[in-house]
Subunit: 605 residues, 2 copies
Amino acid sequence: MVSKVKRLLIGKPMKSTAIEDEKLGKLKALAILSSDALSSVAYGTEQILIVLMTLGFAALWYSIPISIAVLGLLTILVLSFRQTIFSYPQGGGAYIVAKDNLGVMSGLTAGGSLLVDYILTVAVSSSAGTDAITSAFPQLHEHRVLISLIMIVFLTLMNLRGVTESASVLALPVYMFVVAIFVLIICGTINYFLGDVQAAAPQFGATISNISLFLLLKAFSSGCSALTGVEAVSNAIPNFRHPAEKNAAATLIMMGAILGAMFIGISLLAYWYGIMPTEKETVVSQIAGATFGRGLIYYIIQGVTALILFLAANTAYSAFPLLAFMLAKDKFMPHMFMVRGDRLGFSNGIIMLGVLSALLIVAFHGDTENLIPLYAVGVFIPFTLSQLGMMVRWIKLKPSGWVVKLLINTIGMLTTLSITLIFIITKFSQVWMIFIFLPLVMRFFSRIHRHYQNTADELRINIATDKPAIKGSTMVIPIAGITRVVMYTISYAKSLTDNVVAVYVGFDEEEIRKLEAKWEEWDPGVRLIVLRSRYRSVMRPLMRFIDTVEWKTAETDHITILIPQFITKHWWQNILHNQTSLLIRAVLFKEKDIVIATVPYHLNR
Amino acid sequence: MVSKVKRLLIGKPMKSTAIEDEKLGKLKALAILSSDALSSVAYGTEQILIVLMTLGFAALWYSIPISIAVLGLLTILVLSFRQTIFSYPQGGGAYIVAKDNLGVMSGLTAGGSLLVDYILTVAVSSSAGTDAITSAFPQLHEHRVLISLIMIVFLTLMNLRGVTESASVLALPVYMFVVAIFVLIICGTINYFLGDVQAAAPQFGATISNISLFLLLKAFSSGCSALTGVEAVSNAIPNFRHPAEKNAAATLIMMGAILGAMFIGISLLAYWYGIMPTEKETVVSQIAGATFGRGLIYYIIQGVTALILFLAANTAYSAFPLLAFMLAKDKFMPHMFMVRGDRLGFSNGIIMLGVLSALLIVAFHGDTENLIPLYAVGVFIPFTLSQLGMMVRWIKLKPSGWVVKLLINTIGMLTTLSITLIFIITKFSQVWMIFIFLPLVMRFFSRIHRHYQNTADELRINIATDKPAIKGSTMVIPIAGITRVVMYTISYAKSLTDNVVAVYVGFDEEEIRKLEAKWEEWDPGVRLIVLRSRYRSVMRPLMRFIDTVEWKTAETDHITILIPQFITKHWWQNILHNQTSLLIRAVLFKEKDIVIATVPYHLNR
């Protein structure tokens, strides 16, 4: 039943050898890996305008130079990541690059902060997508949490189905979004130059009396939130089709170009149209409304924007499981993240990401805007560490042309470091949490690592000297009467060793006498030992007896407890049997180093 | 930790031989067994008045003849049950008497309806007690459910502590209640005859135009709810000290006399004082207020009334577990109701009663008044069956003086039968549920019985001919690598038989080659079989392999799967190990008839 539902939702299991077919070409990769980055266009400009609006309408012209600065930063990041791709063709996420060049702790800092970040990505993107929907249909506002959760469930299922299949479904909305935004930018620009625009742009270069560097930096850092997601390509190189690094690099450049063009286009339109950010309507919605009126095209633009925001979450679905896999391989995360599921995806990572982000959505009642700065810091810390790692690498390896490469990564590192610092300084009230949970995650990693190390040490044997040794054997069978199950269990024990003893825990002298007499009459060839329990406890006398057996024979014998156990035909019948056997098993298992063999007896009726 | 809390709440375990000391003397028995019956005084008269009030104030005089009729019925019941006590000194509940004389189905009807009834008793009594409290302190009204639940928890704990100890705690309030009601009756009567009463009684014998037999019968049956609980003594004879039946009979007579006097006294006072039932205040509260004013004595009376109502529930706590024990002994209820707990009580019955009645309280939000008729029918059905059973017994056995005895039981049977019918006719809307759940409970009994019968048939052996037989042995060890645990497991297996095989499920050719090479180098003296899994499932190839082994050797050999299993030091570490062993165990256990031996390995760090 469960497995049928699973088949229906996720599809049939796939052979391990099918993994090569699951790899991505450039165009599909662009769809899968760029939705996070591209979707930032839907809110990047707006974030800048919101900060500038605190200074009044006239200050909005600053959005243009700030947008250009963001564009510059984007160029630097793309160039830097391109270098990483070629240096780490097996996948150059910040975790790998930092661990490789700066040491394990830096790697874990980058990895931990990305891991948390991917969860935030899913939560933030799905609630942003929901906002786009409820902007168009305000009556859905009260169902926001539900809509977000449905999207998360949908994405989780798609990703459990596998990489290629989800790409096919998810590629279309990404292309539609790109087309829609370019149509908007082109038509909006034409409209503007034809003079069909009513609202006047704020005067460019006007002096604003109360402007401060702090505020400009804050606006800039807000705009930088549009750059989150750029790292996705370099993390996911193993998912690319051969030649992986070339395909990845090309995809990265494509993505950078599209993102840059769309971002600056939206910023220009917003400036030209004199658009002010409001609580009720997004900037893109205002531009689209001003350009096309609230007609069909407007709703199409809003629709694909909502879609792309949902899909932004999908980037995290490819990145999180892969990162968790790498951390698990290095023994910093539980082994279960290394297991490929029926459809070859890392199911446990996918499911965990879905569950945790759904919990965030519920905890914040779908209002995840306040998480955006936290999310941005969580991206820029690993960016910085990754660039720093690349710098160290160039200095160590000194390949041809290393000076230029070093220069690019140095600029990249300095920029991302500055942005991290700007974030922390200008938005401390929203990002302080990272200083709590990052150490927690690190501690979590290190405890897991220590446990795996210890376990490996304990379990390791020297195959030259450590060989299995043969010992004697003693078997103990707790019984409650003379039944077919007991007979079967004694047959089993006697087939293995002559050292078998049956134990009966009795509460009542009368019953004990009866059993002893019956046992003698039956004469199964096994000694019966009766333990008297004055407190009606089965466990205590039994444990004491086993202690004695251990004390007498543990040196020379393996001790086995044979537990006869009913298996009823219907689940409800279990309640009809006291199943003392389960209790005995649980207690012995926890306390004793002896083998517990369950001898099953399947009831037929 | 858990066991310490248990000790604190319930007390130290007691030896089985201490059971004789736990038995009850007459006075303690009166306290424990009569609280249900005596507490009916708190609402019996009121139930009559409520029905009469629908005809207007003048009709209230009918309460006097109706009360006398109830008193007559009480006398009949006491005499009948006295006969039962002497006929069934080992405990003559309706279940036993009906089963013994009328057959199993009648016995189960009586038993099932009592079992459900005891649950209703606890729910109804604890909410009635809560009502008495909230009459005095209206601000507690919103916490009614909580107060009722606290009382149920308290009663459950007291009963888990054991019979005598709870008697000591619970006896005092019963005696206080009896004293308080008698003081009220005496002072109220004196007041009335001194003429200190303002309100006038309705004229006795006045003709009421719209009176009907139906209404009078309804009022009478409502008054009969005061008789519930009378059966408690005859059920609980095994709890009495020697000579049990004499003590029980004396207790029954005492209880009947006290109950009759209190009931008629309260009815008279209510009539003399011209008291009308209202929603807000109970009749007893009105009488007490009129007699003493709202002073200290009034609050004492309300307080002990509340207490006795809570304690009424306690009668069910001694009756339910005993009845469940008897049903379990006859294999109609799960065996677990036969187990005596640490303190010699039938803990499972006590706990189940507490849980189910608490659920009722929560489901009805503490408004359980509508359950009272249902509860009364649930008592009178077994009453009738029990009397009928006694009649059959007298006719069969014909002891000396049997005609008088038969006569008494016949009158008893006819009266209780009439009351049952009156209840069903006049209050069908409130009692129809019994026609649904009584068949359900019966079906539940019969399915349990059939299961136990079938199991016993399957497990029974002929000790003359069925003897343990020795077979060969094959052991299979699933491994995931070469570790200390595997070495230990192989040592164990080789100590028992030469027929040992290790099985490795591999996903990856590279890893399979490595393991095979290492195995050869290690050379543990056991053959390694490698199963290839193209779908990364461990279970499927393993199950297929075991199928093959079974097919080859099941005739001649016992097959054992040895499962090495880690036991981690801290619970959280469990998540770090995939514990495929648990999965293997669960699947094999359900599907195969082979022995599963878990070889534990306790991790030290």
